[in-house]
Subunit: 358 residues, 2 copies
């Protein structure tokens, strides 16, 4: 009996892990060879850089150009990986790295500030092939939180690590650490000051609302990516600084598998952005997958049902990017805008910000 | 436009909160009055105290009696609340408090030790009526983590808090705090020592498996409760010390809404216990609800599908207790045993430990 239990634990341990790198690379090469014989295989990628009250009238042409250029740069990194027969997991991770390294988005370098003036980042990644996943919450010194999320998935027996422990693990795994001052940006500090002013005024007036429009929008800008590779493997990842002025080591939806991130080869890959509390309560990413699996909805109908009906009814705002195993992409949001881009196997690129754009 | 955004944020804020206490109490009284006219209204409650390799041959009669007595004591607290017209949220919380205060279960007083010899507790609670939820991860000084989870739900704009921040919030909300030494129990310390010995032996042998049967079972004992009140409101809650020897501030499934805990009046209330990593990847609690909602499965068939098929296929072990809006209870597990009890509106009590028991 003990031997059996050990065997089960042992098998469970391996089923919980990604394959060793060598094996994965070998299989990539094998599939690449196979790929030549199967030109019908498709691939695709979609990204978001946050949803919110993004209105054309509040944008400068320079800012718009900067956002679009960075979205294009990021998605092309992932697209190149997929085109060369790389994995969807690599495409998701490397694409998110570009967005994390830019001060434009609320993730990595551009992470928003907590109430204490620190930066606490969350991220998660999921492999639709193995249904394995990794997530981190509240890290302050990890340059690319999405890399740590993947490291948790591949090289720990856990799915989710947090705070100091997650950073200790990052150190043990030799991930790139930076001084917390790396995450300081003038723009995000100004946002914090603005939010604190509003909060102070509210407290003086003894009104109870914690959020107003300033605060509400101060939590958007999360980045995410979903991808399908030529082997039919789906992957999804999400990375964020959370919400400006967040308190008490709040954890949002981004590091929650099923809320912020979900991928399953049988259905779809989803990355969320928006008011995290509602995305957790609505299990948004997994709910889209469940509607595809259990009700047979198309990806488009499933994302519409969850974002435009269920999330909206709950009172939540935000959006998702999603891709299914046929390469169909759906990007849905109930806010004025969502930074987003898609690229398909033919190299067709779309980049959008506002609601009315294709 | 700004005014509109403010209004949306304001409405969103309230939709995110429980009603003020006075209102809830008034409505309880109102419904109680109504209740006299509706004797057909039913209610019910079910609890678990963890699933694992619980075998009769390894149990002493004294230990068995102690477990059964505590399960009975706990469920009767919740049952009395429901019988007197109280809310399912109160029943869930107060029942879990009894289990948290006992050293027998891996929650509160009996929480297992982390690798560092500390106790880090996780808990979550969800209200099936409002779909509101609260959760905490990695708290070390809060006597009853489930109380803090409910406090997060009711008195913060967030769903999930963690670590020091969650404790700061507990202090601000005047929750009962204890010295971390309160959570010291001889039994759990012995478990940690045993697990560390196994780990050391493994490292010396350079085998890669992190888990063996000792370690595997050292993480069970999570407690949970689901309840239906006479108003048809469902609630679910889960509280745990996590797994013995856990590292890097690991977060398991217990504080993850949709994995460890889920409640929705339209479907069911679910509390999970088991190998948390698999419950996160499988979105176990929400998946049961999704099967009921989208595929029209009965609660019994939905729990069976998720635990015996999907979770087992993934390699995960554990179980759930669940109740639907008609008071149907389902308790399913793929381990040798699960500490559990149920009580219905007629006061019929069942208490079980092993697989073959009713």
């Amino acid at each position: 009996m003990k031997k059996l239990a050990f065997l089960i634990a042992f098998v469970g341990f391996f089923s919980c892990k990604e394959q060793p790198k060598e094996t994965v690379e070998t299989s990539i090469r094998e599939v690449q060879k196979e790929e030549v014989k199967k030109p019908e295989e498709t691939f695709g990628i979609a990204i978001h850089g946050g949803a919110g009250t993004i209105l054309k009238k509040n944008m400068t042409p320079e800012k718009e150009t900067a956002y679009k250029a960075k979205l294009e740069e990021a998605i092309k990194v992932g697209h190149a990986i997929l085109k060369n027969g790389g994995t969807s997991m690599d495409a998701v991770q490397k694409t998110i790295n570009v967005l994390e390294d830019s001060p434009l988005f609320n993730a990595g370098k551009g992470a928003v500030f907590t109430s204490k003036g620190t930066n606490e980042m969350d991220a998660s990644i999921m492999d639709g092939n193995s249904l394995n996943a990794g997530a981190v919450a509240g890290v302050t010194t990890v340059k690319n939180p999405i890399n740590l999320a993947r490291e948790v998935m591949v090289n720990s027996p856990h799915v989710m690590l947090s705070g100091k422990g997650a950073e200790q693990f990052a150190k043990e795994r030799d991930l790139e650490l930076v001084n917390p001052s790396y995450f300081f940006t003038e723009d995000r500090m100004k946002s914090l000051e603005r939010v604190k002013e509003v909060e102070k005024a509210k407290e003086a007036n003894k009104t109870v609302a914690f959020y107003d429009s300033v605060i509400k929008d101060a939590k958007f800008g999360t980045v995410g990516c979903v991808a399908l590779d030529i082997r039919g493997n789906l992957a999804a990842g999400t990375s964020t600084g959370g919400m400006t002025n967040k308190k008490w080591n709040r954890i949002g939806d981004s590091p929650i598998i099923g809320a912020g991130t979900y991928a399953n080869n049988a259905t779809c890959a989803v990355s969320s952005t928006g008011w995290g509390e509602y995305f957790i309560r609505g299990m948004v990413a997994y709910d889209i997958s469940a509607l595809v699996e259990y009700k047979g909805l198309s990806l488009k109908d499933a994302t519409k049902e969850v974002i435009q009906k269920k999330l909206t009814k709950l009172g939540g705002t935000g959006g998702v990017v999603a891709i299914d195993s046929k390469g169909n992409v759906s990007m849905d949001f109930n806010t004025a805008g969502m930074y987003r881009a898609t690229m398909n196997a033919d190299g067709e690129l779309t980049v959008g910000i506002y609601k009315d754009e294709e």
